[in-house]
Symmetry: C3
Subunit: 365 residues, 3 copies
């Protein structure tokens, strides 16, 4: 879908600089762009590429606009302008409305006339599919579940009975929404299953990556608020609530009954324990494990940096001795201190034991 | 399905206190319960809510029964009573027996007459589906695989050829049972695949969470024993054996040929190396990595607690120096010790080198 | 498929020792083998089993051939010979060519006449399926995607529009190839989706384990080179490139735009950050997190070894104090050093502060 720079400027709100008649038909990186492509510069690291790019136009921040003579869309947030331009140049292929003959739709389901139900999809009794929603091939929607307007379920998604997916969501292949939470009682050396009678309720504008799983609530619902963005292979346990505009990178695990605030950014493979709360505006580094509530916004990290294997082995052997090391150092400090002072009868600070127990007290805290 | 407290007491074995005629129709939390709901108190932390709950009845332990005047089911294990009550009040919707016309069942498959085969399910030659089993929409059962009596395979499960799922199991959407284990030989800079000719054999009363994968054995079988409970997105490698009544939280990975004992509780995202053994009654904290066999029951942990990012950076920079720190501390201790003692010719303990090598010996062990 | 030792020797290139007429029909472990089975010994740890095995023949290295009088295939790489023997004795069941009547194949798809399309598979317009390829039940191939010759897609795989799977690949159930990468711009407290217009391009002889996900590129393609082997539940972010012959164990996560070299071996649950490069011939221990580029081949590790829980707690409490410990030790060393030397005016080395700042400098690096 070729568009002129003038049109792109007008529709994205960016400032146009240079020839407004330049036509572009696709987005590309500065490096791979050629005639007809528009590229962008958001990361200063790639600034040198501005000089050599063969793009027909670029998207840049004002402070870098001087680096190039190319026609440009200039904006303080070039990445957001790029997102809008890309959406205009590469619109999602329209899926024709209607139910494919191989789909299996229960007569008691309500499918909006503008919705598209692909081949081999299965839709249960009482389910609702909103206007312009697109249900992918092999996707299965349980009884009484609902899918909002303009939502896209890619092929082979499962939405269990009674769960709710809001409007304008994008759900990728392999996602499972509403499987039973992991709830069991132990009795006499056996597990007794706790029926999971809550639902999953997903707000508007949520995107969910491939093979992510979100369990239904045990009693109350599991809730994913508006504009939450989940990458691939994330696991959300039962009764969690994820606040609006929070984004999680791939492979994150969130155990049950945890509440994560809004505007959080959770790094890949972070692990978040159950029954805790994470306040708004928390960022977690990749691979960080969270086992207690976080009440202060900020960036938290926890994963180890890698080491050459032999060095790592030495560190791991030393690590369990760290508390003892701490005590030995403290004792030594006292000894050295005492050696500098004149001794007198009754001085106990050189004993060491008192320090040990003091340290132990801190250790137990 | 409304039931009286008298009936619930009788069917769960709990002691009834108060009005036996009270009718309840659903379970709820103390906080969200209202008229017609029965709530439970298992965690003392929520004890204060007993006073304010609007539930019609509660399930409590004897020592907390005095906190409420509500009709109650009293038992030393209130969580187990709750599980039973929930199952009675919220029975699984019965799926009518029979094969949906859109299912593709090989003529050489044996489907019990009381089994239910949902839309678009595919069942291979020689496969066996037991009495009252329920095969979900889009679920695929390979040739000569078998599914036990009363087992539920939710939509979009795959059971590869020849694998066995026992009776009364629950398998959630996206689960893959019996894909090839990860076995390859290296030759001349190329990988040669090792055919995986073993099966997966799953016992009775096993529950498997969404998108969990269990690989078939290379030569012998991968075995999941009775009453094992696996949460979502768990990976079990080829030739593993998981002992009965063991439970694993989400995102756990178990590499091939590892044996895990019975009654273990494995925390979320724990990683267990291949070719090791973990004895019975082991508990692992979330995110713990296990690289050697565990021969003593108990709780083991390994993940780092999170830190504010700048503090974490300082710790990570210091960590590789820990072995050196240990040596320096030891040398200093000797020096201080020597300074306190009268020096004499031939004393070598102040040298430091001997201590270093001693520490290095421990480090190598 | 029973074969004589003579035939196996000839077809695998191994040296035959003993009765060439012995017929074997299956592979087995030394322990479980009986009449008609051929076992192998690759790991010296199992050498004692050579004496007691009931196998009809064995595969061994020359240096262990003396341990058994059984007929043997002898080779310096017994595991590779075993792989070939297993493939000969246990060939994959041939799937008859043709399109199952329940499959939904767009008239504009090009299906090779020798390809097999299983029940309920869905193949989009413009898609290409090569000679002898096998498309499993419920597998979905998007528009204009292509699947190479002799490639096997197991049941319930998804290949998104436009993606390319090379020849002789094996893709297990639940794999999702080509879902959108995780790309968003932030504007005014909302996320704007970046359309993902690149593809996934997978080379020849690649194997991909169950429920693994590989995202399509944002602008350029995500590339998996020839002979890459991916285990189950791996996540590969958009625009990654994985070099030829690299193998990854289960549960690994690779964030976007990262390049991994060839001949790397990535341990299970390793986490690799985005926008970095890992050179050829790198090995990562299980659970290792990589946050910067690696430019030197070798084995790197990072996960903590587990500890009994109480000990782990003490270590975790002590760990944040490690940088302070380092400073205190350094100060003490100076004090002890100074105590041994005659003091003179102007000596500042006993002050401690200079050392602190020195250490801090290193910490910041």
């Amino acid at each position: 879908m070729p568009l002129s720079l003038a049109e792109l400027a007008q529709r994205t709100g960016a400032t146009l600089r240079g020839d407004e008649g330049v036509i572009v038909s696709r987005v590309a990186t500065l490096e791979s762009a050629d005639e007809g492509a528009i590229a962008f510069l958001a990361n200063p690291k790639y600034r040198p590429l501005l000089a050599s790019t063969r793009a027909s136009a670029v998207i840049v921040a004002p402070e870098m606009a001087g680096d190039t003579a190319l026609p440009a869309l200039v904006d303080a947030n070039p990445y957001a302008i790029f997102a809008k331009v890309a959406a205009l140049l590469h619109p999602r292929a329209a899926v024709p409305a209607g139910v494919h003959p191989s789909a299996v739709v229960d007569p008691a389901a309500k499918i909006a006339p503008t919705a598209a139900i692909a081949a081999t999809a299965v839709i249960g009794a009482g389910a609702v599919v909103g206007e312009r929603a697109s249900i992918g091939a092999g996707t299965i929607i349980g009884a009484n579940a609902s899918v909002g307007e303009d939502t896209v379920l890619h092929p082979r998604v499962v939405v269990y009975d009674g769960c709710v997916v809001g409007p304008r969501c994008i759900v990728h292949s392999g996602v499972v929404i509403g499987a039973d939470g992991f709830g069991m009682a132990e009795e006499g050396g056996r597990w007794i299953k706790i029926p999971q009678v809550g639902r999953v309720v997903i707000g508007a504008d949520v995107e969910i990556g491939a093979n992510t799983t979100i369990d239904r609530g045990a009693l109350d619902d599991t809730v994913i608020e508006d504009d939450v963005k989940l990458d691939n292979q994330i696991q959300i346990g039962h009764n969690c609530r994820i606040g609006r505009h929070t984004a999680m990178a791939g492979c994150v695990g969130v155990a049950g009954s945890t509440r994560i605030g809004s505007n959080c950014k959770i790094g890949g493979a972070a692990i978040i324990n159950g029954h805790i709360e994470i306040c708004d505006n928390v960022m977690l580094g990749g691979g960080t494990g969270i086992y207690r509530s976080i009440t202060e916004p900020g960036l938290y990290s926890g994963a180890n940096l890698p080491l050459p294997h032999a060095e790592w082995q030495r560190v791991q052997v030393a690590l369990p001795r760290l508390p003892e090391l701490q005590r030995r150092l403290r004792r030594l400090e006292r000894e050295v201190e005492n050696a500098r002072r004149p001794q007198h009868i009754g001085d106990k600070t050189g004993d060491g034991r008192a320090d040990d127990s003091g340290d132990r007290g801190e250790i137990d805290s």
